[in-house]
């Protein structure tokens, strides 16, 4: 066999393995979720019951879907102004300054911290602080989880939009300056519109990460299997309920957790698809 053929076979089998793994994952999720959908039908998605008591078992995913959306959207809203300003600061205003290099380093550092460390910090530092500020439920809840989530996704959103902002061709900026535009006008009328789809992509990526983030959220959200009635209420996200309960689950309950995993998989898939569609349209 010549080396060309060998390369081809190696590359092909590696790609096939990836296909096999992801296909297998979908297959086992679907297979595991069948008993749940058999028992509750699509009602599983819109039911807010989560009752494991023997004999009257009833499971619904709505509390966790609600918790996931509430924490992720809140986290995104908290993250947006901070990361957007930071990326402009790094990518344009202080582009070549020492301080920008230092901050960029810190942002990258934040991105590398494991989720459990954020969770621990949130549990022992952030939560007591919030209790002092008068937060109910021992400081557990949607708001606390969102806050930690926001801190976790800031580096992602920041470094991506910073990169895109830095990539806006100097040509375009100079063209705008040569027409008498001020720096503010260049940023808001040239740089941001040119970088728009990339910036949006950054936030979608960050949102996707927030949706699936597990450990830190599990430690802070309070783990109540009900729809949160307010931002300071406790709840559970799709990821955190799985992390919390998979150890002692069997039968229909295990199937329901797998069904939630399948839904999470679908939701993140859809979010990513929407993001790509937006980017495609804007490009």
């Amino acid at each position: 066999m010549n080396s060309d053929k060998i390369t081809k076979i190696v590359l092909l089998s590696a790609s096939l393995i990836i296909l096999l793994v992801s296909g297998g994952m979908v297959f086992s999720l679907v297979k595991g979720a069948i008993p749940t959908f058999h028992a509750f039908g699509l009602n599983f998605i819109i039911s807010n019951q989560w009752d494991p008591s023997q004999g009257k078992e009833a499971y619904g995913a709505l509390p966790f879907i609600a918790g996931t959306i509430m924490t992720s959207v809140t986290a995104l809203l908290i993250c947006l102004p901070l990361s957007f300003s930071t990326s402009l600061f790094l990518g344009e205003y202080f582009k070549d300054k020492k301080i920008a290099r230092v901050i960029r380093l810190m942002v990258d550092l934040l991105a590398g911290i494991p989720s459990i460390v954020y969770g621990l910090w949130g549990f022992y530092v952030l939560r007591p602080l919030l209790i002092d500020l008068g937060l109910p439920n021992q400081g557990f809840g949607v708001f606390t989880a969102s806050l930690i989530l926001a801190i976790m996704i800031i580096p992602y959103a920041t470094s991506l939009s910073n990169e895109i902002i830095t990539m806006v061709p100097n040509d375009l900026k100079e063209a705008a300056y040569s027409l008498g535009a001020t720096r503010y006008e260049v940023i808001f009328n040239v740089i941001i519109p040119s970088a728009r789809s990339g910036i949006i992509a950054g936030y979608i990526l960050a949102f996707g990460r927030a949706l699936g983030e597990t450990m830190a959220v599990t430690m802070l959200i309070g783990n109540a299997n009900v729809i949160p009635t307010g931002f300071f209420d406790t709840g559970n996200t799709m990821a955190s309920v799985i992390a919390n309960q998979f150890g002692e689950a069997d039968g229909l309950k295990l199937s329901s957790l797998i069904a939630i995993a399948l839904l999470l998989f679908l939701i993140t898939g859809i979010i990513n698809a929407i993001g790509k569609l937006i980017i495609k349209k804007m490009a």
């Binding site: 040509d171 375009l172 063209a175 040569s178 008498g180 006008e185 040119s194």
Partner: protein
């Protein structure tokens, strides 16, 4: 002034001892004093790295965008010291066209022409906008080609059309001077000759100052030529005279292709 430097009456642009350094003490332009004639095409020639673009960019104070660049000496536009003018007003009086066509990719052809007004947040009536767009595009002979697709993105045009759109964008403010930095170096020969014709036509209403590394282009369309070498202004005079009878040895060597 040196004898190789032509004296011009009532110049539109004058520089006096203009020096520009990218790093402290490292001069890219050295003590250039020159007068540019109104309603003419003046070509700035020289081998790469001679400071011709740096010189051009001093005239609309583009160097101020970069902190490490230092400018000394004086530049006068229409008799006024540009360092004492508001930079926005200066840049509207001296439009700039760049090496590579750079229409704003997010704007339509129409919006690109009036980009200066849009960027500065100047509100003008729709009718006035329409007039500016039509006049500017007519000026660059682009109107007939794009009048039915004014609201398409400017980036759909060919390279030559894009460059003419960029010239139209610079003309929209009715500037006194148009500064062009090798405007045809990224464009095919046919489109280049269109732009050359255009520049000759435009000198009726504007003063054209153009950096070019293409000697035959300078010979074809410029009235005056400015030869720079290693940051110095070596020779400046009527293009005809300079090409037939260069006064400085370095000019002659450059024009005969001994270096460059």
């Amino acid at each position: 002034m040196k004898e190789n430097i032509e004296k011009i009456k009532d110049p539109i642009i004058s520089t006096r001892n203009l020096s520009i350094a990218y790093d402290k003490g490292n001069y890219a332009v050295k003590q250039v004093s020159v007068d540019i004639k109104k309603n003419s095409v003046t070509a700035i020639m020289g081998p790469s790295g001679c400071g011709k673009s740096t010189f051009l960019r001093a005239i609309n104070r583009m160097h101020e965008l970069y902190e490490n660049i230092e400018t000394e000496g004086e530049v006068f536009l229409n008799g006024k010291d540009i360092s004492k003018m508001q930079v926005i007003k200066l840049r509207r009086m001296a439009g700039m066209v760049f090496q590579r066509p750079n229409p704003f990719p997010t704007m339509s052809i129409y919006d690109n022409v009036i980009a200066g007004y849009k960027l500065n947040g100047i509100h003008i009536k729709k009718k006035e906008k329409d007039e500016i767009v039509e006049r500017s595009l007519l000026d660059v002979s682009l109107w007939d080609e794009v009048k039915d697709s004014l609201f398409k993105k400017g980036t759909f045009l060919s390279g030559g059309q894009q460059q003419r759109l960029c010239i139209a964008r610079a003309l929209a403010f009715n500037p006194k001077v148009i500064l062009l930095d090798e405007p045809t170096s990224a464009i095919d020969p046919v489109a280049t000759s269109k732009i050359e014709d255009l520049l000759v036509k435009l000198k009726k209403n504007y003063t054209i100052l153009m950096v070019t590394h293409n000697m035959s282009q300078a010979a074809r369309i410029s009235d005056y030529s400015l030869f720079m070498y290693l940051g110095e202004l070596v020779e400046y005079g009527k293009t005809k005279n300079m090409f037939t009878n260069p006064k400085d040895r370095r000019t002659e060597e450059y024009l005969t292709g001994k270096f460059g």
